[in-house]
Symmetry: C2
Amino acid sequence: MQNFVFHNPTKILFGKGTISGIGPETTVFSNKVLLVSGSGSIKKNGLHRQVTESLQNAGADIIEHPGVQSNPLLSHVRAGIKLARTHHCQVVCAVGGGSVIDEAKAICAGALVDHDVWDFFTGHKSISSALPLTTVLTLAASGSEMNCGMVITNVETSQKFGFADKFLFPRTSILDPEATFSVPADYTAYGAVDAIAHILEFYFTTADPSTPVQDRLMEGLIINAMESCDRVLADLHDYQGRADLMWTATLALNGLTGAGLGRTGFPMHMIEHSLSALYNVPHGAGLSAIIPGWMRHQSVITPGRFAQFAERVFDCRDGSVEERARMGITSLLNWFEKVHSPTSLQALHIPCQDIPRIAENALALAKVWSMSDYDIGRIQAILADC
Amino acid sequence: MQNFVFHNPTKILFGKGTISGIGPETTVFSNKVLLVSGSGSIKKNGLHRQVTESLQNAGADIIEHPGVQSNPLLSHVRAGIKLARTHHCQVVCAVGGGSVIDEAKAICAGALVDHDVWDFFTGHKSISSALPLTTVLTLAASGSEMNCGMVITNVETSQKFGFADKFLFPRTSILDPEATFSVPADYTAYGAVDAIAHILEFYFTTADPSTPVQDRLMEGLIINAMESCDRVLADLHDYQGRADLMWTATLALNGLTGAGLGRTGFPMHMIEHSLSALYNVPHGAGLSAIIPGWMRHQSVITPGRFAQFAERVFDCRDGSVEERARMGITSLLNWFEKVHSPTSLQALHIPCQDIPRIAENALALAKVWSMSDYDIGRIQAILADC
């Protein structure tokens, strides 16, 4: 195990009927609240009313910033920052999935500085403070509700860049599984894929050969993500399945899985971010198209790790290390197909002629993330196998 | 899954060479530091010098409160509170295992109130603030370094009582596996037993039939506790084994394993606390003497749960539910014997004539912990099987 610092101060209120807690959890910081939300589905399903009622009952003066897209846009972040400044908002409340929470984090950071918020993402500026953030989660996927990371897309430069800072942990996140009942089957599956991808990134890129505590935690979470997703796809209103999937996705990227692994990379996300930046495909769908190809490449380098994954996650006990490694990848691919998440670029209708362009875009992110072991040839080779 | 609140604000600095961080982490609160420690082993192994140097370099004015015993005593807590008040200490730094940290927590809570600190344990008073606490951990066992609980023994009343409050989370805990190199084999094993017991309490007392996320987390931690303990017992200076055992014990009782389980009990601890209160046996040794007997009783009530434990922790896949349940208990008992942790009252030299007295004492704690499903007859029956 490598040295690490673990500090996750986010408070989680989990379960049925917890949404009414958002008012007091938010106005404890200020009653000037910027309410950040998405495309309007929360108005249809009644969540918007629940949240605003709770905020108002707690004395909030609400300024609304709706319209966050999936793969949230820098231009919309800038508009949110302007709004927060104009109305002197002192706290931000995000109601939505990872995109809404990520945009809210960018607003929290950008509202307190004079320079452009994109400077954080390019590494030209660092964060020294941020507005406090509370969230009500509506999608089990990104883990953003209990971590300090965010990903924003700059359409001017076709860049989808991520950034993390300790000032960006939500103060309180409310996780009511019933708030995810209206998520359709495809996006439920993409969310589970996203959670699994977060774990796989750590699991397969650690250079430390001895991380048994983290390994068993990660293996258990992957099994839980698949089993709970299966349960939800059989009945979208299965409360226990929704609850298990929601908590699994949160734990998949709240810092615990990676603590002690030392330096890790995010190569699958690095490549996928190009897909969503260039084609606006759902993040989880892009991931499941990339994961099997990347795993096939990586398994040649660290077959023992893949054999352990196969044995512990899919109970593959027979055959050589290489055979088990392959069986693990195939088993995961079969599960992606079972939940109808795309497993190739072709399934996303992305022609192979585009590979050089995608690779070029991914390489720019590899540089920002200091992933020097990924050059253009390697990224192209992986994409050619996807 | 049941509703829960999870909020663990403790910052962990983990790994080699992290002890030098204790100074700045402590004096950020105040330079008037009460340094709480145990019986003097930290003076022999150099840790005391490391800690005081780091504190002094950070500008600390140190008041020493050494001499905390295992199963820390209320009288010694009271002396620490008096010392903290006399010298106007504004922060407490604990260097030791769970006993030292627990006593430090009691001092943090007691220093700020006029009434006796024991009133918190009997439920007559509640905590509304506490001095900030930092810790340097020297024993992988109790989890106190990342939770808000504490256990103190009142010899006047022969009571060993526990109490938890959100104000008692350490602000920062430093976990350097090398600081546990000098723990001898027997106490290393007792520490692993303690960590396993914390998990078993949750695992086998939850009334919720559907907690798959927590189950896999707990099962993985139990396996890790045993495997890392085995590794350390083969070589007390095995860094990776010490690191894995240390982080496992912390995660075993930092709130994650129990979050979502709903109401649970701590019956094995409830009974064991009587053993350490009456005979001053090491906590882990007392636990391994109680656990198999308690498990045999409980497995009749919830055999399916015990069969799952057997299957996932010990790979027992054959036989009926009842047979697998029994195999799981036997496997754990065999592991206790392998690491030379006592598995009966007899092994602790406690005569069966004492059972009524032990049960009487345990019943008092059962009342304080509101465990109404444990009457004197049930406790005696369990003890008779230990």
